[in-house]
Symmetry: C2
Subunit: 328 residues, 2 copies
């Protein structure tokens, strides 16, 4: 059954989970209807607080997400959970885990949970996640927890839509230098050392603290210094401390009006840029008329008269030249 735009907008605003599910499917399908629904819902967004939870596979992100969700529910807050997996369309471990979680959380009207897996265009998942948070926001979720399955370039783009990002590590994640080399050191606003009771927990904590100190010295005055929170998610240990750290970061972002304004602008810019990139790649091929020139010159590459590197440079030069002429 197809639900039309009006019904979806009204349903989401009235807290109808079925309408929300349909809207999220439209978003995943990157459909024009989905964008229209979001355009209509836009005035009702901007209320939810978004927390990103990323880290290597097996670091216990799902357990921590559930723990945070339960603590927030105990306070009477409503929670939306997006479990995002850019690396696997398989209904393997992640979805099985989801099913178990669904059973625990399904009865709770104050929790909405959804898995989003890789499909559609490259870079589309970050845009889809951003849009899904807007739908959950308009639906009335106070908190949105965005959890990735792994950690990497795509995952960082996915959690980039969050207000506060938790980087979840375990003692086995390797030393701080490796984490820094992986380009993840500046990725988190809060560092969580989960499974802290295992050997090496205090060692990795000290190393990360040291590295954060070095990074912080090079930052402008008044910059946020990421706290490190030890947890043992499986035993519900450290959840309150973690939530307190999130609240501190939230206060940091929102209490100073100047910083809050800058932050809102930055978020809007990021969201717009993500959307623009996705739509640009989607539309560029046809509009730039590369296809025709491409077909004309392809045989030269097949005959190895020109390398693809030279040809791409030449094709793009033509495009930008045309652009210049149009602008003048």
């Amino acid at each position: 059954m197809r639900m039309d735009v009006e019904a979806a907008v009204a349903g989401v605003r009235n807290g109808d989970k079925r309408a929300l599910a349909r809207t999220l499917s439209m978003i995943e399908d990157e459909s024009a209807e989905g964008r229209t629904v979001l355009d209509r819902l836009y005035p009702f967004t901007g209320q939810a607080y978004k927390v990103g939870i990323t880290g290597p596979p097996g670091s216990g992100k799902s357990t921590l997400t559930d723990l945070l969700c339960r603590l927030l529910r105990a306070r009477g807050e409503t929670v939306g959970i997006l479990a995002v997996d850019p690396s696997s369309p398989f209904s393997g471990g992640a979805i099985l885990g989801d099913r178990i979680r669904m059973q625990t959380l399904a009865g709770d009207p104050g929790v909405y949970m959804r898995s989003m897996a890789s499909r559609g265009s490259l870079g589309g998942l970050a845009a889809a996640t951003q849009q899904a948070t807007e739908a959950l926001d308009a639906f009335g979720c106070h908190w949105i927890l965005i959890e990735t399955v792994g950690v990497g370039q795509s995952e960082m783009e996915v959690v980039g839509v969050a207000d506060t990002t938790l980087l979840v590590l375990v003692p086995e994640s390797g030393d701080g230098v490796q984490i820094m080399k992986a380009g993840l050191m500046e990725a988190g606003e809060i560092y969580v050392i989960n499974k802290y009771d295992r050997e090496g927990g205090d060692r990795i904590e000290k190393e990360i603290h040291l590295l954060l100190g070095v990074l912080h010295e090079r930052m402008p005055e008044g910059a946020w210094f990421p706290p490190i929170v030890p947890t043992v998610g499986i035993r519900d240990e450290g959840g309150e401390a973690l939530l307190a750290a999130i609240e501190r970061h939230r206060a940091f972002l929102t209490t100073d009006p100047e910083r809050a304004r800058g932050r809102r602008e930055e978020r809007a810019r990021d969201a717009l840029r993500t959307l623009l990139r996705a739509r640009l790649l989607e539309q560029a091929w046809g509009h730039l008329r590369i296809e025709e020139r491409f077909d004309q010159r392809l045989p030269e590459v097949v005959r190895r008269e020109i390398s693809p590197y030279r040809l791409v440079d030449s094709l793009l030069s033509e495009v930008w030249d045309r652009m210049e002429r149009g602008a003048s």
Copy 2:
């Protein structure tokens, strides 16, 4: 020490592994020097046969890659291995595994192995992998095995550069319908059921065979019917049958001159398109002059006067209009 373009080109052509390593680093860094080296090496490419190996984590892709490598070496063929992980920059399991493999293979001058992890621009990894295979090709590898850590959109783009792609499944991968829903059914030219000795091996084999039959009916006459090869990689079982299947697919692609020509054109088109997409996104931002208009109109989104969805449509329309004017 910086190696210049001439030295890199000469080194790669002379079988110098150090020069090859430097060239691959230039490619990973998406540097202009790297593209120049590749442009110079281009006339010496087109000889290697490329095999992509993808499938869910834990399906035993590395073990199968090693098995194929050993069988090829026993025939006196040289092998390049690219282990690509779009989902994790962490030097965790994959790299540790690599180290062990390196030790086994390091002494063999006929094997070159390299890990490539996610970094740089989105979509850049597929382009980098494509380019890395060209460097290995010019280096003189007869075979290039491209192995991914997981399976997903990015991974499919990565193995898209291969001539033959193996989709490695295990009895636990779930039923055929799930695999089809994940959009992977048309992804492989050869289906490998690894760990076939586990329960459910014959069941998943039958299901996949059935589904492939249904798909094949809708294909043009003479289309390749993907064989299903059972293996137990850890016990070296099924390797010869797998290599035979690869050789059959290779013969299928190359013996008919018309099909071989079409295939070469298709490969060149794919390579060019991958490269073009990566370079397009890299250059578009500056050339399309979106940034200025973006900055001008951002405050409207921050004040929630216009939704980002409407604004993106409007900004892109402006761009394409300018393009049209330039073309006329």
